[in-house]
């Protein structure tokens, strides 16, 4: 089939919006990195260009004067405990719902799934007082528990669909050999659904690392701030102090782990998020 000149031009033309959107996505991110190397004076002089020199002063200031070190540590703890707790809670439930016949298993599954559509903001007010009563308010471990439970529906949803692909014969023969159901879950199901477990874990980790609003409500001492809160604090202070360079440096610190995870697990993350959304 011969292509007309118009069609060839059309093919080239189609790239223009693609390239423009690429620039729209990448430029602000690059610019954030560039800004993190500039002094405040330079940011005012030349906000959108290349830095004159690559100085790490902003990172040092953010790290030492703005307690970013503590916040990074808090965010790490919340992320690690949150993801592990989510798995510990979700794997057995996903397995039971998918593989063991019992009355109400469908209803239980629906209950978890429908929680994904409910605006949790209504629950945050009572949750605030519940955490206060449990002495878990302004406490990163309390926040980690809240995070873990908030991601349960999504995690159970993804894991049940992974577990359903494992052939039943494997469990049956293991049970024949006298393996207890606990061991089947631990030694057979968990390793065989590792791919799904890794996917949800990465998704949950990014979610917890990035989360802002629950942290805003449930934490209030600056030594307990997660990274998102610390950055928000620097940002609102920058209105008066104009410490933009420090702000950019802390944004860079927050985004680097996400970029690294995305670079390694790009396919998994994209697949996990689209499947999570399709639950409808």
């Amino acid at each position: 089939m011969k292509r007309s000149v118009g069609q060839i031009l059309g093919r080239a033309g189609i790239r223009i919006p693609l390239i423009l959107w690429t620039i729209a996505v990448l430029y602000p991110i690059f610019w954030m990195f560039l800004g993190s190397f500039k002094s405040n004076a330079e940011i005012y002089r030349n906000p959108w260009g290349f830095p004159e020199s690559f100085s790490l002063d902003n990172f040092v200031t953010a790290w030492t004067n703005y307690n970013i070190d503590t916040s990074v540590f808090n965010s790490l703890i919340v992320t690690v405990i949150g993801t592990v707790l989510t798995l510990v809670l979700a794997i057995p439930t996903a397995y039971a719902i998918e593989r063991i016949q019992f009355r109400g298993s469908k209803a239980l599954f629906l209950l978890y799934i429908s929680a994904m559509m409910i605006p949790m903001v209504l629950g945050w007010i009572p949750l605030f007082f519940l955490l206060a009563r449990l002495n878990l308010l302004d406490n990163i471990y309390g926040l980690a528990i809240v995070y873990a439970v908030s991601q349960l529906p999504f995690t159970i949803f993804v894991l049940t669909s992974f577990i359903s692909t494992i052939p039943k014969s494997l469990e049956e023969s293991a049970a024949m050999d006298g393996m207890s159901p606990y061991m089947v879950l631990w030694k057979i199901i968990t390793p065989l659904s590792m791919s799904g477990i890794i996917t949800v874990t990465i998704m949950n980790a990014i979610q917890f690392w990035n989360e802002y609003f629950m942290a805003l409500i449930f934490l209030n001492t600056s030594s307990n701030y997660t990274l998102a809160l610390a950055i928000d604090f620097i940002s609102s202070e920058a209105q008066y102090t104009n410490a933009w360079g420090t702000l950019f440096a802390s944004l860079v610190i927050a985004i680097i782990p996400v970029i690294v995870l995305y670079a390694i697990f790009q396919r998994r993350i994209a697949k996990g998020l689209t499947e999570g959304a399709i639950k409808g």
Partner: protein, 297 residues
């Protein structure tokens, strides 16, 4: 499996009960007690909790800010659905149908903002809109349109529309991938048949692609609507805090302000009930209108 009934139930309890208990305590109980709180006048301390029946709901109906917050939320819903769906559909079609070699590169780049923290996105865009240093005003100046430059987020008319762009910027990738998934499931033979019948590429798009990815389009729209109604307040909180002069308050950010800034916890819960009802109603109505027989050729 060879095991007694008792063992089976023990194992079931082991699998289900701890998880369900935590879920009940940290998700179900707060939601239901949110409903309950909405009937109280309560500033947070236990002594001053007074049952006032529907008074909070009457206050809600009379509160002049509430209709604005609802309007703002639906403004964001409509603009985001239109903006995201048009761009995501365009990119999805371009990246699948046109055999562009570097398509995976675009896919990877366009998706990335979806996993960025709202805080990072909000702060980046606040700076892009910055009146003196920001990219938008500098760009307008550069092309000689200084007259259009304004303090975007500080302007009562422009602050809310300014929030749409970052939301679209951050949202497109996910929906593009969902639509790509739909398009790549369409059998090539439909396009071949259409080509033999002499259908142009436009006609192929309208008659083949669009009807066959309707399920993905429907899910995408629903998902944008739900996430906006249930979560638009996060970007509002980061970028404007509801200001200037309440011009960008959405239902959720107003709830936050009432409950956690002004300590009207009962009234905050009432706003939460309103969000719940509106979001469920909207989804139900949308599902009814988007019902369309599954197309099979």
């Amino acid at each position: 499996m060879v095991q007694s009934k008792k063992q089976k139930y023990l194992f079931l309890a082991f699998c289900l009960i701890p998880t369900f208990l935590l879920f009940a305590v940290f998700t179900l109980y707060p939601l239901f007690s949110g409903l309950y709180y909405s009937f109280f006048d309560w500033s947070g301390s236990s002594q001053n909790k007074e049952f006032i029946g529907f008074a909070n709901y009457i206050k809600l109906v009379k509160d002049a800010i509430i209709p604005n917050t609802i309007m703002h939320d639906y403004f964001l819903v409509v603009t985001k659905v239109i903006g995201i769906m048009i761009l995501a559909l365009f990119f999805a079609v371009a990246l699948t149908q046109l055999k562009i070699k570097e398509a995976p590169f675009y896919r990877i780049v366009f998706f990335f903002p979806n996993i960025m923290s709202v805080v990072v996105i909000g702060i980046l865009w606040t700076f892009i809109y910055n009146p003196s240093l920001g990219l938008i005003n500098s760009g307008l100046e550069f092309i000689g349109l200084e007259s259009l430059a304004k303090p975007w987020l500080g302007d009562e008319t422009w602050a809310l529309p300014s929030l749409v762009l970052p939301s679209i910027w951050a949202g497109i990738g996910l929906f593009m991938l969902m639509l790509i998934g739909g398009i790549s499931n369409i059998s090539k033979s439909y396009y071949e048949a259409a080509e033999i019948d002499g259908a142009s590429e436009w006609q192929q798009f309208w008659k083949v692609t669009l009807p066959l990815i309707w399920p993905q389009i429907k899910i995408s729209i629903l998902y944008i609507v739900i996430t906006t109604l249930n979560g638009s307040f996060i970007i509002v909180q980061v970028m404007t805090g509801g200001g200037p002069n309440n011009a960008t308050h959405v239902m959720g950010s107003y709830l936050y302000q009432q409950a956690f800034v002004q300590y009207n916890f009962g009234y905050g819960a009432t706003i939460g009930v309103m969000i719940l009802i509106l979001s469920l109603l909207t989804v139900l109505i949308l599902q009814f209108f988007m019902r369309r027989d599954k197309v099979e050729y």
